[in-house]
């Protein structure tokens, strides 16, 4: 017990990977064993991160549960882990969504061993990004997460999976090239990759590097960071990998992809871009806000245009993550003001909320896809009487995604809108315009969500699904169990958000 309390983070981080290694020795054909083993293995980090959550002291500044091990002394990189309120909420989201996603993939019967192993490796990769306090480690985990996801899409995806997985891989790799270079620049300059040290020194760094003014270097490095994260978020116009990857990935893959992987990008903005480049972020905040608004509006329109249910949900991610970036851009404009903090609170909460609702939506799409083997909205219609429980859950989750007050999405969207509009009113008028345009996206969020419900549940019943071998079966207990934690959290955050927002808020106040 003592070991765990002093090595809590590394235990959470490496437990899934170790479990995956243990899985190597499980017999090959025992699908049931693989599933239960993986589920149990992913519940351990979840329980531990609950311990982490309750032992975390939000009012204390800086990182907590820090751990430091030598990793690559020659270049000044070490395995430095730690969490603050910002990363803690993301760690909780990851460890919560992974068991849920694994439970959601119990319907998979093809090469379960490899599948479950990849999932556990994926969890380690994602957690590593959120916990790393060392730039090189950050980058390593950033790339580690990519590989399992590639194989999950490529091996267990649907028809167009080769194209989608390649696009996902190339896009993300392309984005992170610049990141690697910029990280190396910092490493070379400061002889260390430690995030805290670099943050202190780099933001105030002014000496020319190799005869080139520091500001040029900073600008280039800033964009290298931004593009890497923008691809992941994804920000317009770097978003086109997302609909393909989400649509083709297996259900649980989409859940994790939307639920956690997208957050890596936004987290990168918060953890690295804002602290490392306050001046550049402020200077280029207008451009960021523009792209964010474009993501919100075009994401909503793009979603509205879809006839494929899963693609519709996938585009909604572009729309929702746009709000995260809008909040970040607003905060970059007016760092330190109350408006900026509100915007950041909203952005971070929106990350968490989108994790819940997007995962839920993808799962629900998966539920109906498993039964009907189609995602074409035109082939559904009037299914509500056949699957009332499913319908209720779908409407509930859709409403969370739509941002209905009383559910979680509203709180975060309101805070973002309030924050960025506040920046517009109190400091930079152009933000008010951006916010106002973003409202158009909010309007069309309603349009596409209602379109989804309308085409699937409402209207005259499509008799094809009512009788015989195609008869649609109701959502089963396992699937309800998957949805229950998500729905409870959605409602809980919607009604009483301060349990999580307080932690986020304190972190934001201390960080920015």
């Amino acid at each position: 017990m003592d070991f765990i309390s002093t090595h809590l983070l590394s235990t959470i981080l490496f437990f899934p990977a170790l479990a995956a290694l243990v899985m190597l020795f499980l017999p090959k054909d025992e699908a049931k064993l693989h599933k239960w083993f993986a589920l149990a293995a992913s519940l351990v980090p979840f329980v531990l991160s609950l311990v982490l959550w309750f032992n975390f002291d939000p009012s204390q500044p800086g990182y907590q549960f820090e751990e430091m091990y030598t990793w690559y002394a020659a270049i000044g990189s070490s395995l430095h882990l730690g969490v603050d309120g910002l990363s803690l909420s993301m760690v909780l989201l990851t460890t919560l969504l992974t068991p849920i996603a694994i439970l959601a993939s119990f319907s998979i019967n093809d090469r379960t061993k490899a599948y479950m192993m990849l999932f556990l490796f994926l969890e380690t990769g994602m957690l590593g990004v959120f916990m790393a306090l060392d730039l090189l480690i950050f980058f390593v985990f950033w790339e580690v997460g990519l590989v399992p996801m590639y194989f999950l899409i490529n091996q267990w995806g649907s028809a167009n999976r080769n194209y989608a997985s390649l696009k996902f891989m190339i896009y993300t790799m392309g984005g992170s090239l610049g990141l690697l270079l910029a990280v190396q620049l910092l490493g070379v300059l400061f002889k260390t990759y430690d995030l805290q040290t670099i943050t202190e020194q780099w933001s105030a760094y002014t000496a020319p590097i190799g005869g080139i003014p520091a500001s040029t270097f900073k600008t280039v490095a800033f964009w290298a960071f931004v593009i890497a994260f923008a691809v992941k978020v994804p920000l317009w116009p770097f978003h086109t990998w997302l609909p393909d990857a989400h649509t083709e990935a297996p259900t649980a893959g989409s859940m994790i992809l939307a639920g956690v992987l997208l957050k890596l990008g936004a987290y990168g903005f918060l953890r690295l871009v804002l602290p490392l480049y306050p001046a550049e972020a402020k200077y280029f905040a207008g451009a960021l806000a523009f792209l964010a608004v474009a993501a919100i509006v075009f994401g909503a329109f793009g979603s509205y245009a879809q006839t494929d249910f899963k693609r519709l949900v996938a585009y909604s991610s572009v729309n929702h993550m746009g709000f995260v970036v809008l909040g970040i851009a607003a905060a970059a404009y007016a760092a330190g003001t109350a408006d900026a903090r509100i915007a950041l609170n909203g952005a971070i909460l929106q990350m968490f909320n989108h994790g819940l609702s997007a995962a839920g939506m993808f799962f629900l799409v998966g539920v109906i896809y498993e039964r009907t083997h189609t995602r074409n909205l035109e082939e559904f219609g009037g299914l509500f009487p056949l699957v009332p429980v499913y319908g209720g859950i779908l409407i509930f989750t859709s409403m969370a995604s739509l941002g209905l007050p009383g559910l979680n999405g509203f709180i975060s969207e309101f805070l973002v809108v309030r924050g960025s509009f506040g920046v517009g009113v109190n400091s930079v008028p152009v933000m008010a315009v951006y916010t106002a345009v973003a409202m158009l996206g909010l309007l069309f969020t309603g349009a596409y969500i209602l379109k989804g419900i309308k085409k699937v549940l409402h209207g005259p019943m499509n008799e094809h699904w009512a009788h015989g071998e195609h008869k649609l079966t109701e959502i089963n207990t396992r699937e309800i169990i998957v949805m229950v934690p998500l729905m409870v959290l959605i409602l809980w955050i919607g009604l009483y958000p301060s349990w999580i927002l307080d932690v986020i808020n304190k972190a934001v106040v201390m960080l920015f």
């Binding site: 509100i342 009332p388 309603g446 209602l450 009483y496």
Partner: protein, 719 residues
């Protein structure tokens, strides 16, 4: 119990009922409606207690019931939410509680509780009736119970929760929460019979149209919050804050307060179905009739007006008391225009509920116009009287429809539309309670002098408009009032008077007690509620009963608004338009036998000025076209993916160019193969000297040695 605790608790029973029904009692109809009606009763009792206690507090305006908790951390401060009951809140809570409770009760009867399940009824479609065999072996078709009976009560509970939340909120954000929850419920309930494409589309239309207003409202809330740092009403409505807002210039030549009020007002335009966002409300008639009553009278549309009344100090923050500000002008214009515009459409409608729907829009326009000209108390007064008589009218029309459905089931002719007034006639004998209560409601709506509540509230608005010199508004509203009386009498005449025009109307039946009781209760208030707000300057009657309403609600504001001076002109006007409209309506439609004799079936009015078509053409289709063709196909698939897909071949092209024109010829051929070939050729030439003879080698070595030695000697050592 502490009054504030009680206020916190008021919205909760319906919410609890919603969850209980959805999660547990869905299968049991009896249990579900017991829970729901019980919850409504609990909230009703709580509201009444709060109301009575509020009456007992002196200077409630300055010392309202309020309580708040920390809710959202925002930087160093907390955003607090809480409850507030001030005079306005108390008055609104009173009518909301009564109407909601009545509607819950009414729904039990409306959805045929206790009747057998239908023969062919399916979820998602209205019930079609069930065949039963009596003791003599005769088969009868009787109304069948709604297949989604429990679900209806669950939604209704959530709806009630939304409205109560909105009323007791002490801040704009929770008001907005209640506001949007009602939006969801209206979506769910308008689309209750989702199997019908028309209902489904109406639900989406209602949600989307109100959402247009809502996003502006959200922007207004964000603006207000940014500018003042709070959303709590009593903190905003302080002298300093309002003054600061009124003196801050914002965009478009308006002050901050004016712009915020305008943004918030656009929310109301959506929610209260004002022109140009009125299109959803008539379509909302697709829902079951109790829902129409709920939406149109008790809750949702009233919420819109309530929000503007709430924000009245903000709306008038930069008002000097005479010249209307830009925002107020817009508000007054939209209100007055809507009042007239909707009234003209109502004249040409034949569906009994649609007439009421347009009359609702028109009456809401009245209130909005009143607010636009600064008539605070009059607007609040009309809001409440209207809620009573409009709930009454809707429930009455539901009762009529229900009675007609009896007739339809009896004859078995399902082609007869039980909602078309031209299929009715003479129902006063078949449905006496419905007739008399409907008559009261209709007269209240028309503003029948002295006895009905509608007269007093409408008169006050007209008096205010006239008294403050807003003649354009006055004239518009007067014409609208005339039309209102006219179409109301048309409706009553076509429905209840004369002789039955169809076989079905002959077999209509009075509805059960669960439906008639609410009618009687509401009819009582539709008459008496007017007497609490009789102007003191009114001839003879004024002063007999104190103008309690003005005194009570007026104290919500820091400065109690003065009632306008009495003048005979508006009074006579309202007498003439009300009585004249009623008389003309009766005379015109007394002998009309069929729809072809109706002189007001003007296509332009019948088609609601073609707004649906225009919006479809101007907004909906272009939006979809933009989404599909521009954003998805052109930008994403074309430009961005096109760029990517071009990038793939580009890299591939570069790669193969490098291979074909550099790697293969230069590296492979020239350098790689070339060096080998040169060595090979050279070796071939040289191999002749390798004879295998030792002595030759030695000889060669000797010669070389001598040559090199000589060379060294001559060129290095000797030199």
């Amino acid at each position: 119990m502490e009054t504030t605790t009680l206020i916190w608790l008021i919205p909760l029973p319906p919410l609890l009922a919603f969850f209980l029904i959805v999660l547990f009692t869905n299968r049991s109809k009896a249990l579900s409606h017991t829970i729901a009606v019980g919850a409504a009763a609990l909230s009703f009792i709580g509201s009444m207690i709060v109301f009575v206690r509020a009456l007992g507090v002196e200077h409630l305006g300055e010392h309202p019931f309020e309580s708040a908790i920390n809710w959202l951390p925002t930087g160093d401060t907390w955003f607090r939410i809480g409850v507030l009951i001030d005079p306005l809140g108390a008055a609104v809570l009173f009518f909301v509680a009564i109407t909601i409770f009545m509607i819950f009760l009414y729904s039990v009867g409306y959805h045929n509780y206790g009747q057998p399940a239908g023969d062919h009824d399916v979820k998602g479609l209205p019930p079609h009736g069930a065949t039963v065999t009596d003791e003599h072996g005769h088969k009868h078709v009787v109304p069948s119970v709604e297949p989604m009976y429990s679900r209806f009560f669950a939604f209704l509970g959530l709806f009630a929760f939304g409205m109560y939340t909105l009323v007791v909120s002490d801040n704009l954000l929770t008001l907005f929460v209640g506001w949007e929850i009602m939006g969801l419920c209206s979506y769910l309930l308008i689309g209750f019979w989702y199997g019908k494409p028309s209902a489904r589309d109406a639900a989406v239309k209602a949600f989307m149209t109100t959402r247009v207003g809502d996003v502006f409202m959200l922007l207004g809330i964000a603006f207000l919050y940014s500018a003042t740092g709070t959303l709590t009403f009593r903190e905003i409505f302080t002298e300093e804050t309002l003054h600061a807002l009124a003196s801050t210039p914002a965009w478009f030549g308006m002050t901050a307060s004016g712009l915020i009020a305008l943004l918030l007002f656009i929310g109301t335009v959506g929610k209260s179905a004002q022109w140009p966002l009125h299109v959803w409300l008539p379509d909302a008639m697709e829902g079951p009739t109790p829902v129409s009553a709920m939406i149109h009278a008790a809750t949702m549309v009233s919420a819109g007006v309530y929000a503007v009344i709430r924000m009245f100090p903000l709306l008038t923050a930069d008002w000097n008391g005479h010249e209307l500000t830009t925002t107020m002008t817009i508000v007054a214009f939209i209100g007055a225009f809507t009042a007239l515009f909707a009234a003209t459409i109502a004249v040409a409608q034949n569906d009994i509920k649609r007439v009421l729907a347009y009359s609702t829009i028109s009456q809401l326009g009245y209130m909005i116009a009143a607010l636009g000209i600064g008539a605070y108390v009059a607007a609040a007064f009309h809001l409440i009287t209207h809620a009573f008589f409009k709930a009454l009218l809707f429930l009455g029309s539901g009762s009529v429809i229900h009675g007609m459905e009896h007739g339809v089931l009896h004859t078995g002719n399902h082609h007869v539309d039980p909602q078309d007034m031209y299929n009715m006639g003479g129902l006063r004998k078949k449905m006496p309670i419905t007739f008399w209560t409907f008559l009261i409601g209709g007269f209240a709506l028309s503003g029948f002098p002295l006895v009905t509540a509608g007269f007093w509230s409408k008169d006050e608005i007209l008096a205010d408009a006239f008294g403050h010199g807003h003649l354009a508004v006055f004239v518009t509203l007067a014409i609208a009032a005339f039309l209102t009386a006219f179409y109301t009498m048309r409706q009553i005449t076509l429905t209840f008077l004369g002789e039955p025009r169809t076989e079905e109307a002959k077999h209509a039946q009075e509805t059960p007690w669960t439906m008639t009781t609410p009618l009687i209760v509401l009819a009582f208030f539709a008459v008496t509620y007017g007497w609490v707000g009789i102007s003191e300057h009114f001839p003879i009657l004024g002063g007999l009963v104190p103008n309690w309403f003005h005194d009570f609600v007026g104290h919500t504001l820091a400065e109690v608004p003065e009632a306008p001076e009495f003048s005979w002109i508006p009074l006579l006007t309202s007498l003439v338009v009300a009585l004249g409209g009623l008389a003309l309506g009766y005379l015109t439609y007394r002998n009309v036998k069929s729809v072809s004799e109706d002189k007001f079936q003007i296509p332009l009015l019948k088609n609601k000025y073609y707004f649906d078509e225009a919006y479809n053409f101007l907004f909906i289709r272009p939006a979809y076209w933009f989404a599909e063709n521009v954003v998805y196909k052109f930008l994403d698939k074309g430009v961005i993916d096109g760029f990517l897909h071009a990038f793939g071949p580009f890299t591939q092209g570069t790669g193969s160019a490098l291979r074909n024109y550099f790697d293969l010829p230069v590296i492979n051929r020239a350098i790689g193969d070339g060096s080998a070939e040169i060595t090979y050729w050279f070796g071939g030439k040289l191999r002749g000297i390798q004879t295998g003879r030792v002595q030759q080698y030695l000889m060669l070595a000797l010669v070389t040695f001598i040559v090199i030695g000589a060379a060294l000697y001559f060129f290095v050592f000797a030199a």
